[in-house]
């Protein structure tokens, strides 16, 4: 059966290679038959890789340990869900998964965009086919998950203990889906350059692809953060680990693109910049794959060193060279619209946002790459740690908060100073109150946190005012009228209000992180069952200690009751130390009780079963709940922005048209 798996990968490679050749012939001859055949080639590759995936899963589920990959990443005792997730636990399987999802995206493009992007399709198909050839060849020739061992061991080595978590089932696929989705905008950018159709059409066509990829990568990053927060060993929700960093890079460049794409669609501005961002975003996804698989980065996420790394480096170089060459070739056609960006306008803020995001991206890129460069050139290990990343993140965060606050208040084209002062008065007052309140509450010991919270209040106020104005625009009263009107805003202008929800989520996320890093505390307590300890404003009671031994797992779990000092119950939490079969070192699962003000986060450090005594490390993480709420809003906002806009009442439309005719278009002025 494994040989059949190898055959399906080779067949997919052949189909993708044919797709590339046929697409080129179709483009050169203007022959629609070859273009259709190329599209069918991509669909054939998808069919073959779907069978490949089915074969690998079957090998895992039938415990065929004669296959090296199955023997290395599973064993007889691994649960069915984790066995399914073992597919992407190692390099070979994750590359097959990558190729399969890429073929899925390519197949979807051939169905969805065929009629909408007819002139771009030959080159879109050609580009997708070439990328698919690169990844399928990687699977077939350097990282074949169907390779046999030559003998059949009695059992497999099992899945790495750190990966035996529910997060393994959804975090890697979501991240991969995000990464892979960015190939489609890249293909459209190449097609626009090759065909010379450089108007905003390609930008409009790729918008849902960029947004979906941005959402999925965002989900992947957030789920990974949540997993790392509740499992010791990953370094908390964000540790500036190289692999975490490289997942953030394409997300940041895509965020920048989503902003400047609006300028190209609306004003014909920044075409070169937008094309460059799609190339950079795609290159960053390959860079991430390279870093994980080359063995050059020291990371808890990284796979073992392999020849796939140098191969992927070649892909990155090819993408950069192709991007620079194509943009340089088409530079005469890539004229920026002549209308200048005026002093204070939404356009200006978008450009500044891009600059801030680019500085952030470059700093993270450099901080991630620097240890790799010194390791290669000087042969010594250098670590770029949190202090460097904090140094960059703090000013970037402050700048973004100011921009979040200003954006809804500043109109397109040219903001009027008088109206701006009026619109910013309330947010400025909110900022002042929040800043003073936090400074007074903590005695002025954390001025940077006070500043962050003050600017967060400023941003929150303008975003909330935007919704307030939207809802009250027609003088409605009462919640029964407000709610449908609020929901109606997302149907009327999903981009604008979806974007506002994203900004709202970002602000909450920043508030959560700022509160946590500033005010977190920890202490140790040794308790016997029935004993209590006071921690901050809580009383923790060690309620129960249970041990469990099954065929596959030994565990000791401690349950603690959480109550407020006032006596009100705040639930309970369970933390455990466990040892899975085939593993040498025990691991710890953290017990977390999430409350509005803070998380009670308990780690079981030591246990004496005979005396029923345990030592706990108890941490209070203020504001972490807001980090997750903000993350959820971030994703929700992205999804809302995907909604198709529904027509507003004719009267409003006429007003807007009149405004445009009068050279206004200042819809934000109320």
């Amino acid at each position: 059966m494994a040989e059949f798996g190898t055959f399906t990968v080779l067949l997919a490679l052949a189909a993708a290679a044919w797709a590339a050749v046929a697409a080129w012939i179709g483009y050169r001859r203007g022959d629609a038959r070859f273009v259709r055949s190329a599209e069918a080639g991509l669909q054939g590759a998808l069919l073959s890789l779907t069978v490949s995936a089915g074969v690998l899963w079957t090998l895992f589920l039938t415990r065929d340990f004669s296959v090296r990959y199955v023997a290395e990443y599973s064993d007889q005792h691994l649960s069915i869900p984790l066995t399914i997730s073992a597919f992407w636990a190692g390099q070979n399987g994750s590359l097959l998964f990558w190729a399969w999802v890429l073929a899925g995206a390519a197949g979807l493009v051939t169905v969805r965009e065929r009629h909408r992007a007819r002139e771009l399709m030959p080159i879109v198909v050609l580009t997708l086919a070439l990328v698919l050839v690169a990844f399928t060849a990687l699977v077939a020739f350097t990282s074949n998950p169907f390779e046999r061992l030559g003998f059949t061991p009695a059992d497999g080595a099992g899945l790495n203990a750190m990966l035996q978590n529910w997060g393994m089932i959804y975090h890697p696929p979501a991240t991969f889906l995000g990464y892979i989705g960015f190939t489609v905008p890249f293909a459209f950018a190449v097609a626009a350059l090759v065909t010379g159709r450089l108007d905003s059409e390609w930008v409009r066509l790729v918008r849902p692809w960029v947004l979906w990829s941005w959402i999925l990568l965002g989900i992947g990053i957030i789920l990974g953060a949540r997993w790392a927060y509740t499992e010791l060993g990953w370094g908390g929700y964000w540790a500036w680990d190289p692999v975490e960093n490289v997942s953030l890079l394409p997300w940041l460049t895509a965020t920048a693109y989503l902003h400047t794409a609006v300028l190209q669609e609306r004003r014909g501005k920044l075409p070169v910049w937008n094309l460059s961002l799609t190339f950079v975003t795609f290159a960053m996804t390959v860079f991430g794959t390279f870093l994980v698989r080359s063995g050059v980065a020291s990371s808890v996420h990284a796979f073992a060193e392999s020849s796939a790394g140098i191969y992927l480096l070649g892909v990155i170089v090819a993408v950069i060279v192709a991007g620079v060459a194509l943009i340089t070739w088409r530079l005469p056609l890539l004229k920026d619209a002549s209308t200048p960006i005026s002093g204070l306008s939404r356009e200006r803020l978008i450009v500044v946002t891009n600059a801030v995001l680019m500085v952030f991206t470059l700093a993270i890129f450099w901080g991630t790459l620097f240890p790799v460069i010194t390791s290669v050139l000087q042969g010594r290990e250098v670590t770029v740690g949190e202090p460097f990343f904090d140094l960059v993140t703090i000013p970037v965060t402050l700048a973004l908060l100011v921009l979040f606050g200003l954006a809804p208040a500043v109109a397109w084209r040219q903001a009027r100073t008088h109206g701006l002062q009026r619109r910013l008065a309330l947010p400025a007052a909110a900022a002042l109150v929040a800043g003073l309140a936090t400074a007074l509450l903590d005695g002025g010991r954390h001025p940077l946190t006070s500043l962050t919270l003050s600017l967060s209040a400023f941003a929150l106020a303008t975003v909330l005012l935007e919704f307030h104005h939207g809802v009250h625009g027609q003088g409605l009263r009462g919640i029964r009228e407000h709610l449908p009107r609020l929901l109606g805003l997302f149907r009327r202008d999903p981009r604008r209000y979806g974007g506002a929800v994203v900004h709202l989520g970002m602000v909450l996320l920043i508030i959560g992180v700022a509160l946590d890093v500033t005010y977190r505390s920890d202490e140790r307590h040794t308790l016997t069952v029935g004993e209590s300890a006071e921690v901050g404003r809580y009383v923790l009671t060690f309620e129960d200690l249970t041990s469990e031994i099954t065929q596959t797992r030994m565990s000791l779990a401690a349950t603690l009751g959480v109550a407020r000092q006032s006596g009100t119950d705040a639930g309970s939490l369970t933390t455990e130390r466990y040892l899975n079969v085939n593993q040498e070192d025990p691991r710890t699962a953290v017990g977390v009780r999430s409350l509005v003000r803070e998380d009670v986060y308990v780690i079981l450090q030591e246990v004496d079963v005979d005396s029923e005594t345990a030592t706990f490390s108890v941490h209070l993480h203020p504001g972490v709940l807001w980090l997750w709420v903000g993350s959820g809003l971030l994703i929700l906002g992205g999804l809302l922005a995907l909604l198709p806009p529904r027509g507003a009442p004719a009267r409003e439309e006429d007003a807007a048209l009149t405004s445009v005719a009068a050279g206004g278009e200042d819809e934000e002025v109320r």
Partner: protein
């Protein structure tokens, strides 16, 4: 033996998929894409008058530049 049969079946399916457009299609270059101003929502007019009105309104909104928000 079963896998050899499955492999053959898959090979035939992929080859037929690829060859079909070459054998049955027409070589003529297809009509160019519609102008960029036609939003996708404006094409969904077959779902009824309500959708048609909505599509027209959305198109007018797009024309007026109201569609792009805070991104």
């Amino acid at each position: 033996m079963l896998y050899v049969f499955a492999a053959g079946l898959l090979l035939v399916a992929v080859v037929l998929l690829i060859l079909r457009p070459l054998l049955t299609g027409t070589a003529a270059v297809e009509a160019p894409v519609a102008p960029a101003a036609t939003p996708p929502e404006a094409t969904a007019t077959s779902r009824g008058d309500d959708d048609l009105e909505a599509a027209i309104a959305a198109r007018r909104a797009r024309m007026s530049g109201r569609e792009g928000g805070a991104a």
